[in-house]
Each structure stands twice: as structure tokens, then as C-alpha cells.
Symmetry: C2
Amino acid sequence: MREQTLKAFGQEVRYWRAERRLSQEELADQCGFHRTYIGQIERGERNPSLLNILTLCRHLGISLSEFFTRYETVLGTFA
Amino acid sequence: MREQTLKAFGQEVRYWRAERRLSQEELADQCGFHRTYIGQIERGERNPSLLNILTLCRHLGISLSEFFTRYETVLGTFA
């Protein structure tokens, strides 16, 4: 479940990043993250914190609820 | 912003925990967390990870999107 959860989260970040036509490095710079952090998140290798999730959503221009509504549809699980 | 974000998150956990009539210790036990962790979260002293947020929501019986929709209303900010 852990891996599936983190992978699904990563895919959603990738989805929104592509929607915004941002590279991983551009998004990392905007968020103030190390430039490899976005790639690690997208591959499901990281378990991001609330503050980092909020920073990501802010720079992807979406609300947390919008992000997690789609995330849960993709993950197909009720939390 | 950091403190406000974590405090608002903690207040939401407290709101839902009270809705479910659970003590901090009961919720911690159900989630498999240390029994002081819930109190720390509710006081805004912790920056929980995605997996811990999902575990909390699962044991509070709400979806992530439901949780963050209310959270954003309370926080009054668009992510």
C-alpha cells in the first residue's frame, strides 16, 4: 500500500507539472527544492511532508482539495 | 505561514477526532502512532508526511479530499 500510495502521488505531481508545461528542474526551482527532489517524488521514492505538498500545489496552481480529489480517483481508494 | 499551516492542520485533526468521539490515545493506537504524536500534531508541532496524513484520514473515516476541502476553508487560503 505504501509504495502504491507514493507512486500514485508522484504520478499526480507529474500530471499537473505536465499540465503547467514545467520541467522537473523549473518546478524544483520555483518550490525551492533540490532539483532532484521532484524526480524522486514522481518515481514514488519520497514520502513528502504536508508543507512540501502545500508548496508543490501552490506552485502547480491548484488547491490541496483539487489535487487530492483527482489523486483519490486515480488511487481508486477511499482514504 | 509554516506555523499557521501546521496549526490549522492540527485543528482539523482535532475537529474530526472529536466528531468521531475518539481520545488522542485511541486515535494514536488505531493509527499505530506513538500516543503523544496526535497531541503534537494537534498543537501544530509536527509536519506530518503524506503516509501519516493518509493513515489519519483512514482512521478518522474521511477522504483526503474531504479533509483538505474543510482544511482550506478554515485556512482561508487557496493552496
